[in-house]
């Protein structure tokens, strides 16, 4: 079985976000780029499944839609353990466009399972995974917190409000995963980093996919007012404020 993991290239979580060109585009000067945290968890789980002798997963590939500046992040995915990386050479215009590109690749290069993180930490669209499923007419499961493949018997857990469901499905399918899918994201070891240089990083041209939305401008949030401090002994005062000032009680 082959698993394809979708990778987003995002600014490191501690980045101070700024915009340029009169707030119409993201200012990436000085930004450290990383694999989107949820995609990293997805990749880690895919590798765990490959290493588990109890199933037939034997190949893990990662795919990304973006420019050559993302290659360093893709090499990191290879260093973590992916067998091959594919980059669709295009500007990731929006989720529909990205999903459409990945679907075009899948039509020529089928995979049994596609993993995608629940959202990317930059645009928080939470859409690409389920869109890929629809483009491919595959079953898709979202909010996945565990994937098990004992003897290729597929069992997934999906989070529901206040609980979870255990589900069965069949390949090919898309799993949109979130926290819980694995414990810690894998860190590349020295050996992995050396081997990554020899692994294939294929660059493919973009397919014709429509762009349905566009970002027109950005806004930084208004400065928050100062925190009102209350004495540790004056709990009643806080309750009073929460009731009558904040009106949340």
């Amino acid at each position: 079985m082959k698993i394809l993991v979708c990778i987003s290239n995002v600014p490191d979580t501690t980045t101070k976000v700024k915009f340029k060109d009169d707030h119409t585009s993201f200012d990436d000067s000085g930004v450290q780029w990383i694999i989107n945290p949820w995609d990293e968890l997805a990749l880690t789980r895919a590798l765990e499944l490959k290493e588990d002798a109890g199933n037939s997963v034997n190949e893990i590939c990662v795919i990304h839609v973006g420019a050559a500046s993302a290659d360093a992040t893709l090499r990191k995915a290879l260093a973590i353990g992916a067998d091959k990386a594919i980059r669709i050479d295009a500007c990731a215009a929006d989720a529909y466009y990205v999903a459409g590109q990945i679907a075009e690749y899948l039509k020529e290069n089928p995979f049994d399972i596609v993993f995608s993180g629940i959202e990317s930490s930059d645009y928080n669209g939470s859409s690409v995974g389920a869109m890929i499923a629809e483009f491919m007419d595959y079953p898709g499961i979202s909010s996945v917190t565990s994937v098990n493949l004992d003897d290729d018997d597929i069992q997934l857990t999906r989070a529901i409000p206040g609980g979870k469901q255990v589900l069965k499905t069949e390949t090919p399918f898309v799993a949109v995963v979130q926290k819980g899918i694995t414990n810690e994201p894998r860190i590349p070891a020295m050996r992995g980093i050396m081997m990554a240089r020899k692994k294939p990083l294929e660059v493919k041209p973009a397919a014709e996919i429509e762009i349905l939305t566009k970002s027109v401008k950005f806004e930084l949030p208004a400065e928050k007012g100062a925190c009102k401090m209350i004495e540790a002994e004056s709990a009643e005062q806080l309750v009073e404020l929460l009731k009558n000032e904040a009106k949340v009680l």
Partner: protein, 322 residues
């Protein structure tokens, strides 16, 4: 031209998020000079469907089929698209929750409708159609223009509120064409916590972090939650250590919540935690360290020992009730 709102039900009942969706789409339909159709999928009683009328739903279409009680996103999306075609709808709106995240992207592809997730308010403009959403995990807002004729939106919890607008409800049955081959996902087992306030639904959340010092010290947190009818939550180190369950972890890689009141006890306020709570209407922080970053995002703060402050707060709330 109409607006379709997909109002999810859970075991035949709607939640506040369903009513917020109706309130939002009623306003949206008014602004677009068109009508609102609210869609319900699964077995829901007419009495329950009528509650949607309190928020302005004058037309409710129901697909009252037990086979559709459990979410299969592929199927739900097909039902929504078929209704959209039937009604000539140009805007489809869902709530940004687990089911919305699974269904909306599929509707977007089926209808070739540009989609924006977790929209914060009524569109900034209609011609061009521009909506505002949070980006960079809450650090900024983005204005996104949808150029396609059809549009799909999901709305962020607590972005609009519940707006009462009582109308009479006309209920219509709808029988979609759904091929059996689309049901490829089966539920084998389901586990739901009973008698506990669900974190993603809660209006009030009491959350605690490493400042509690030990898992044995959680009683004051739970007592405060109980007296407030609140859900309990925790920071990442606490769930990583196994002091509390993963489902309580609030933060960038845990749950992102938007309650009316978030009480953070013994939580320092790292960026990743703040990403999960910045949409709370009101944040109260209790910490021994006056320099803790949590105080720069909190509305009210107490510098003090959580083991002393929490019980005092519980007492004060009990007194204020009587």
């Amino acid at each position: 031209m109409s607006v379709i709102a997909f109002a999810k039900n859970w075991n035949g009942k709607f939640k506040n998020s369903s009513y917020e969706l109706v309130s939002y789409t009623k306003e949206l339909a008014n602004k677009l000079n068109t009508n609102l159709v609210v869609l319900s999928i699964g077995e829901v009683s007419n009495d329950e469907l009528n509650t949607l009328g309190n928020y302005g739903a004058d037309k409710v279409v129901t697909v009252n089929d037990p086979k559709l009680n459990t979410l299969t996103s592929r199927v739900y999306a097909k039902v929504i698209s078929q209704l959209a075609d039937k009604e000539g709808a140009t805007v489809v709106v869902l709530s940004d929750n687990n089911s919305g995240k699974a269904i909306a992207p599929r509707v977007s592809v089926q209808l070739k409708a540009g989609m924006v997730a977790a929209v914060q308010e009524i569109p900034v403009s209609f011609n061009p159609f521009i909506v505002k959403k949070r980006v960079f995990s809450g650090k900024a807002f983005g204005h996104v223009q949808i150029d396609s004729e059809k549009k799909v939106l999901t709305i962020a919890k607590n972005c609009f509120g519940l707006v009462e607008n009582p109308v009479d409800v006309a209920i219509e049955d709808f029988t979609p064409e759904v091929d059996a081959s689309l049901f490829k996902v089966q539920v084998v087992e389901e586990e739901e916590q009973k008698n506990k306030v669900i974190l993603s639904d809660a209006d009030v959340v009491v959350s605690a972090g490493r400042g509690m010092r030990s898992p044995e010290n959680w009683a004051p947190v739970e007592e405060l939650a109980e007296v407030l009818g609140a859900a309990t939550a925790c920071s990442r180190p606490v769930s990583d250590e196994g002091w509390r369950g993963h489902e309580e972890h609030v933060g960038q890689t845990g749950k992102v919540i938007a309650p009316n009141l978030y009480i953070a006890a013994g939580i320092s306020g790292a960026i990743q935690h703040v990403a999960g709570i910045s949409r709370s209407k009101c944040i109260v922080a209790i910490n021994t360290d006056p320099e803790a970053p949590i105080f720069s995002v909190a509305d009210y703060g107490i510098v003090g020992d959580v083991m002393e402050v929490l019980p005092k707060l519980t007492e004060a709330i009990r007194n204020s009730k009587s």
